[in-house]
């Protein structure tokens, strides 16, 4: 999940009777699973919430390139290098695609990026964790993209048309990344040296809990969820999604021959789900507040890139203006 704790600005969901006629028509459309399109009327809070959610998602794609950029220069083989580069290229594409979806709501990309750099906008907490060895490239693909897919598959049915269509396209590519990530780990576990196997387990030990945190706070501490669910911006609760992820991931973990750093993780015959231990929520909230291992570095790197690129973007604009002027003069 690349968007966490998205503020909706409402404490309680209105009933149809309490709504204005416009709001009511809108809600009935949403209830009937008819997509909301950019030109349709929508409540201001719906628009603002979507801008927050889609921009968080877009920022996550772009910030998420940094932990991978940390290893793309050190990929061990030509094949792995090519795969990682292709993945990063896809992510830049997802970022662009999502920023465009966000712009259909009247938001400005530059302004939203500025908010990110000022620490006012969020991105997924996961990207504030460092990538410390090569197998993190496998574990990120498997766990992080895996967690993102669980959320995004559901978001393909989100109520806002452009966002929903973006999710359809993005999900296809993410599934591919997830399989590649898992393959990196599987190859090392099956044919690797003891050192490589230790690398894989080390990656899982570090990334397991942060991956579970990607789904956001537990439902009882998720004050904005109800409104987002009513708007069908969100379609399943944080805890439901987290459970889905765990249920599909644990068999894959066992197939690898690795373990999770959770002594309470076990199959529950009665519920038909895996039980798991309590997430360290204090860590989650600290990371969200900016105290994760890499928060400062990630933002500083992104801000530096955009700041140092100012003259480049200005030049591109000046050149385009000149060209246009010349065309006008010639006409």
């Amino acid at each position: 999940m690349y968007a966490q704790l998205v503020e909706t600005g409402s404490k309680r969901v209105k009933t149809l009777e309490e709504m204005s006629p416009e709001e009511r028509t809108f809600q009935e459309k949403v209830d009937a699973e008819i997509k909301i399109e950019p030109k349709n009327w929508m409540p201001d809070a719906y628009r603002k919430t979507l801008v927050r959610q889609i921009s968080q998602h877009a920022h996550s794609e772009v910030v998420g390139m940094l932990p991978e950029g940390n290893w793309v220069t050190r990929a061990p083989t030509l094949k792995r290098k090519l795969q990682l580069m292709a993945k990063i290229q896809d992510e830049a594409g997802h970022g662009l695609y999502l920023y465009s979806a966000m712009e259909t709501l009247g938001a400005s990309r530059d302004e939203e990026i500025e908010k990110l750099h000022q620490g006012k906008a969020k991105y997924s907490s996961i990207f504030n964790y460092p990538t410390l060895n090569w197998s993190d490239m496998g574990a990120v693909g498997w766990l992080v993209d895996g967690a993102a897919i669980v959320n995004q598959v559901v978001l393909q049915r989100t109520s806002y048309g452009p966002y929903s269509r973006a999710m359809v396209r993005i999900c296809k590519e993410e599934s591919f990344h997830q399989r590649q990530g898992y393959q990196i780990l599987l190859d090392m576990m099956r044919e690797g040296t003891e050192e490589q196997k230790a690398m894989v387990q080390d990656s899982i030990n570090r990334l397991w809990w942060p991956a579970l945190m990607m789904f956001g706070p537990s439902d009882e501490d998720s004050p904005n969820s109800q409104q987002s669910m009513a708007w069908k911006i969100k379609r399943k609760s944080n805890d439901e999604l987290r459970q889905m992820f765990i249920d599909q991931t644990v068999p894959q973990l066992e197939f690898l021959g690795c373990t999770a750093p959770d002594p309470d993780l076990k199959w529950n015959e009665e519920t038909g789900h895996y039980d798991f231990g309590e997430i360290d929520w204090s860590e989650f909230y600290e990371v969200l507040k900016g105290n994760g291992p890499c928060n400062r570095e990630r933002i500083a790197t992104r801000k530096k890139a955009i700041d140092e690129g100012t003259w480049v973007r200005q030049a591109a604009k000046a050149y385009a203006d000149k060209k246009q002027q010349k065309q006008r003069d010639a006409a």
Binding site: T73, P76, G192
Partner: protein, 258 residues
């Protein structure tokens, strides 16, 4: 006096030059991941770099098939030290600002484009095939880097100044692109490398054309040029690039798979 190379050795040497140049300039582009001036550029830079590593792999695989020591493509890429690397000095120069990144790419792309344009007619099916596929990609690379040279050269006063500095400071590494050694002369005689006079004329012609349109100063054809990569004598940058790029293969030499 070094011993003359057999034709197979000469061909392998030339394939390694193509592969190494591609890989090293891609490595520089990879360093920019997450640091480009706009998200569109993130995507484009990674796209170009991806094409170039893909092409490098094709050339390495052919070079590996000719290798007397039976090294595979990954061993050629990740286990040779700097003195065995044959990439053009231009490709290992640091990214600098975006003007330098683009000037480096432009000089390289022009060379790459005309080299491939010649190799598609090589009397060696494998070379012609790899070149034909690569040429499609490099045609786009060249269009893109030329556009950036013009945009920055004729953009704002600041971008113009930066581009002037960039095209001048990298000029000293361009002589190598069009100065053949005996290996290239011999291969060119058989059609397995570009005709040197033609390549030089094409390269100079296109560079002049684009610099002129970009309102940038034309550079001095008689300027002092740094040569050396064809003998494995590099700038100080390459050793550091390889230290990073080859880290895993060097640190875990027993690993058979990754």
């Amino acid at each position: 006096m070094t011993k003359a190379l057999t034709q197979q050795q000469a061909l392998q040497e030339y394939l390694l030059r193509l592969a190494d140049s591609n890989l090293i300039i891609s490595q520089r582009l990879c360093e920019l991941c997450g640091k480009a001036p706009a998200v569109e550029e993130e995507m484009a830079l990674m796209n170009v770099a991806l094409d170039l590593v893909g092409q490098a792999r094709n050339w390495y695989e052919y070079a590996a098939d000719l290798d007397e020591a039976k090294r595979d493509a990954d061993t050629l890429a990740f286990r040779r030290d700097a003195h065995d690397y044959r990439n053009l000095l231009l490709t290992e120069q640091p990214n600098g600002d975006y003007a330098e990144t683009m000037a480096r790419q432009f000089y390289f792309d022009v060379w790459h484009y005309f080299t491939l344009l010649s190799l598609i007619d090589a009397p060696d099916e494998r070379i012609a095939g790899i070149a034909a596929k690569a040429l499609k990609e490099v045609t786009y690379h060249l269009r893109r880097s030329s556009a950036w040279v013009k945009r920055l050269g004729d953009g704002t006063e600041e971008s113009h100044q930066r581009m002037e500095v960039a095209v001048e400071s990298l000029w000293r590494f361009t002589g190598e692109l069009i100065t053949p050694d005996q290996v290239e002369l011999d291969l060119a005689a058989k059609g397995l490398a570009p005709n040197p006079e033609q390549l030089a004329a094409d390269w100079k012609g296109m560079v002049k054309e684009v610099l002129t349109e970009a309102t940038l100063s034309l550079q001095d054809d008689d300027a002092w040029m740094h040569l050396g990569s064809k003998k494995g004598i590099h700038t100080e940058h390459l050793g550091l690039i390889l230290a990073e790029m080859q880290f895993l293969q060097r640190a875990y030499p027993d690993a058979k798979t990754w």
